[in-house]
């Protein structure tokens, strides 16, 4: 390493650590020591998914701030269920499609999308509308239904989860976006950004048999942090989650939350959700456990939060 490079890195590291622990991780994982002084969390309300996404990214300095020419990008939405978009069981296809388009426009060499689904993967990819939106925008859907697509990764900071097999597309990419949908959830109480990580893992049953909440908090310590968590709250599922039964379970909040901080964005999402279905944040145990794992902060006061109503 050259002397000049060393100083550059050291200075950047210093600045990064001033903000908060997670910014450092995010910065390092992006293979670039760029620190953006913009907001830590952007919340947008009142627009269509594509409009809200573009607005939120604008606040964060634009997509070019995160995706460089020639980079391999992975987008991980929630595509867990063989359900149509109106039932809000999966991430909004328009949101995912827009993100693919923006990444391609920023010069990404390829944009790959997958989820380890709960229902039949082909039916879920198709009926969620995500496959169509992704391929139309120039992205690529890859399967995640076979163990051979996964490679083992250590989780040194994990309490119960010490290692897990993670999808190779994610391990081999340069940048990745975590794009969950906000839902009520029978097991984890609610599923937002951290719970969405169960779809990058092969053996999910380990989570259920080794304290689900702790394992979710552990998987959030994944060394390769997402560049951004983009929480889809355009339609949310307030009951019978995570699959839902009918459109009565769905509430249209027309909102979007974006942050690099898992804990902060899940905390904010729970506060938004509680206006529909009052929920004690403590019951969503993995949020506090993740904070304990030093994944992020629940204290939104300490963060630079940008709220935008369209």
């Amino acid at each position: 390493m050259k002397r000049r490079d060393f100083f550059k890195s050291a200075a950047a590291l210093g600045v990064a650590s001033l903000f908060k622990t997670n910014a450092l991780g995010a910065a390092l994982s992006g293979k670039q020591l760029k620190v953006h002084a913009g907001p830590d969390l952007v919340a947008v309300m009142g627009g269509e998914p594509d409009v809200m996404l573009e607005r939120a990214l604008k606040e964060l300095g634009g997509i070019k701030n995160f995706v460089k020419r020639g980079q391999k990008v992975v987008i991980k939405p929630n595509i867990g269920w063989d359900r149509k978009p109106e039932l809000a069981a999966n991430t909004n296809p328009e949101l995912v499609g827009t993100l693919v388009r923006l990444c391609k426009e920023a010069g990404a060499s390829q944009v790959t999308v997958f989820d380890h689904t709960c229902h039949d993967w082909k039916k879920s990819y198709t009926n969620s509308g995500i496959e169509k939106a992704v391929t139309a925008a120039g992205g690529k859907m890859v399967p995640a239904n076979d163990e051979s697509y996964y490679r083992e990764v250590e989780f040194p900071r994990g309490v119960n989860l010490k290692k897990a097999k993670i999808h190779q597309a994610l391990l081999d990419c340069d940048v990745w976006f975590n794009v969950p949908v906000l839902k009520q959830h029978g097991g984890a109480k609610n599923t937002i950004s951290m719970k969405n990580l169960m779809g990058i893992v092969w053996d999910r049953s380990f989570f259920h048999s080794h304290d689900l909440h702790q394992c979710i908090a552990d998987v959030a310590t994944f060394h390769k942090q997402p560049t951004l968590n983009i929480v889809d709250a355009y339609r949310i599922m307030k009951s019978n989650g995570p699959q839902g039964k009918s459109e009565s379970d769905v509430v249209k909040l027309k909102s979007l939350l974006v942050s690099h901080d898992f804990v902060a964005v899940d905390t904010a999402a729970m506060k938004l959700y509680s206006q529909v279905e009052p929920t004690d944040l403590k019951d969503v145990r993995y949020i506090a456990l993740a904070e304990k794992n030093r994944v992020g902060t629940q204290n939104l006061e300490r963060l630079n939060v940008k709220r935008i109503k369209l």
């Binding site: 919340a43 309300m45 063989d82 709960c118 229902h119 039949d120 082909k122 039916k123 009926n127 690529k140 859907m141 890859v142 399967p143 239904n145 076979d146 051979s148 697509y149 959830h185 029978g186 097991g187 984890a188 109480k189 049953s205 380990f206 259920h208 048999s209 304290d211 689900l212 909440h213 307030k238 009951s239 019978n240 989650g241 995570p242 699959q243 039964k245 009918s246 009565s248 379970d249 509430v251 909040l253 909102s255 905390t267 904010a268 506060k271 938004l272 959700y273 509680s274 206006q275 529909v276 279905e277 403590k282 019951d283 145990r285 939104l300 939060v305 709220r307």
Partner: protein
């Protein structure tokens, strides 16, 4: 006349290839409508009492003889392909290798009589075992399909490594040794017989072939040899894969002739023809069977009694207390055990079409008569998809009654049973809820337990027995929640809908 053979070959391939590919197709890309080709098979048509198809097949047989055997039956065509292939392994002078052989009347009439008698006594066991279409289905699904998937997976593995995801690996869930073994046995038998004796299987073992033999004896058109023109060269006899042409006696055994027309295209003197039977004096076929009839009858009735007894045994296995003891879980649309066991010929079509691979051929779960009939076997991520009714739509025999998707969603295949003492929430006092998470109707839902924990509860009357809960329950090897089979499928109650939220939210809440 000589082009008849070519027409037969083209027609048979037009039937065979789509059926073959439909069974092999593991991507779900072929249209489901192809299943209509299977409802025009003899046994499925008879079992589903499809009068139009039965009428057409009867008419065809009465007009042209056994053209079902030569152009429609996939097992027949498979044998033709095998015996045709075998030519490449023979010395040139032995290519036309057949020789007239007397029919094995005792055997073929016994098998037919047995099959019919056992069916009348209420068991489809022999129909299931001997229906040629279903035998083909089992060979295709148990042997050829897995081979195709292995091939695909090998290619997919390489191309995925190189970053191309057009091909993807297909996991093969579950292996049923009994079904595999029986399919292998029949396949070996068919290879052996077709390789050496042409259509001997169709003319001795197959009950459909034997029955159609009665019709082809009186069919309007038939193959006959004109003595005056014949040079007794014996070419037709050597070419006849049914071994039913006696070129010395100038006789054709119509009951065994599958109207393949190979003899027509090989005869140089034009002595052998496909012509109207009742034009002039008919060449009476002498059946060397009179002296055998008493013995045939005795053997037949003895065997019939034995197999009725055997076929009626209804042993249910799996009653081991430590296991998930249960009745077999029938596919949607099976209605009740009696109807299902009687109509299903275990052709495995639904098994190959099931996108979740939850349908598997049974071993002895239904007892011996229901061997290889499909049942649901749940394993991790393998359960009956809520929004899917494909098995009920493709069934050619009517064993599965077609269910519209909305009706299938409330058809109860079994009932989830919760065993609290094995549950993670009870044992470890930790949140789990995987069962409820996967339950499409929320028949399995979480209720407050203690310390903010929630524990599953089952509302039986809205449970449809899809097995999602059992498939995902982390308590292993004995799940805390499992589906208990039922003998009659009921209509489950419609799950109640959640209360709609109508207030407008204008704030972020933080």
């Amino acid at each position: 006349m000589k082009s008849l053979k070519n027409i037969r070959v083209v027609l048979s391939l037009l039937f065979f290839l789509p059926i073959f590919l439909f069974f092999i197709d593991f991507t779900g890309k072929l249209p489901v409508q192809l299943h209509k080709l299977l409802s025009i098979q003899w046994i499925p048509a008879l079992l589903s009492l499809n009068l139009i198809v039965i009428g057409i097949l009867l008419l065809l047989s009465l007009l042209f003889g056994r053209i079902y055997c030569s152009t429609i039956c996939p097992l027949g065509i498979l044998q033709d392909i095998l015996s045709w292939k075998s030519r490449f392994f023979r010395k040139k002078n032995k290519k036309n290798r057949y020789k007239y052989a007397a029919p094995s009347n005792i055997l073929r009439y016994s098998i037919l009589a047995l099959t019919v008698i056992v069916f009348i006594f209420g068991s489809s066991f022999l129909v299931l075992m001997l229906d040629p279409y279903s035998t083909f289905g089992r060979i295709a699904s148990q042997l050829l399909r897995p081979l195709a998937i292995w091939g695909n997976n090998g290619l997919a593995h390489i191309s995925n490594r190189l970053g191309n995801y057009t091909l993807y690996e297909v996991e093969q869930v579950g292996f049923v040794p009994l079904a595999f073994g029986l399919a292998t046995l029949f396949f070996c038998l068919i290879i052996l017989l077709s390789w050496t004796k042409g259509r001997l299987y169709c003319n001795t073992i197959c009950p459909v072939g034997t029955s159609l033999g009665f019709l082809s004896k009186i069919s309007f058109f038939h193959i006959s040899i004109e003595g005056a023109a014949c040079t007794h060269c014996g070419a037709c006899e050597r070419k006849c894969k049914s071994q039913c042409i006696d070129s010395h006696a100038l006789k054709v055994d119509d009951s065994r002739c599958v109207t393949c027309f190979n003899c027509l295209s090989t005869c140089k003197s034009g002595a052998i023809n496909y012509r109207i039977r009742y034009k002039k004096e008919t060449a009476e076929v002498v059946e060397p069977k009179g002296n055998n009839s008493r013995r045939t009858f005795l053997v037949t009735s003895g065997a019939a009694i034995a197999s009725v007894a055997l076929a009626r045994t209804n042993k249910i296995v799996g009653n081991n207390d430590s296991m998930l003891s249960r009745k077999p879980i029938m596919p949607p649309g099976a209605d009740n055990r009696e109807h299902f066991n009687k109509h299903c010929t275990a052709c495995q079509l639904c098994v190959t079409k099931c996108p979740m691979q939850v349908l598997k051929p049974a071993a002895l779960q239904y007892g011996l008569p229901g061997i290889m009939q499909p049942h649901l076997t749940f394993s991790t991520h393998v359960f009956c998809t809520y929004d899917c009714n494909i098995c009920t739509t493709v069934c050619p025999t009517g064993a599965l009654i077609p269910l519209p998707i909305e009706e299938k969603k409330v058809t109860q295949l079994g009932i989830a049973t919760f065993r609290r003492e094995k549950c993670v929430v009870y044992k470890d006092e930790k949140d789990c809820g995987a069962c409820s998470e996967h339950c499409p109707t929320q028949a399995v839902h979480m209720i407050p337990y203690k310390n903010g924990l929630t524990i599953p509860e089952v509302t039986a009357d809205i449970c449809i027995g899809c097995g999602a809960c059992e498939s995902i329950c982390p308590a292993r090897p004995y799940q805390a929640i499992y589906v208990e089979g039922i003998s009659t499928q009921h209509r489950a109650k419609n799950p109640s809908e959640a209360k709609k939220f109508n207030k407008k939210i204008n704030d972020f809440g933080f």
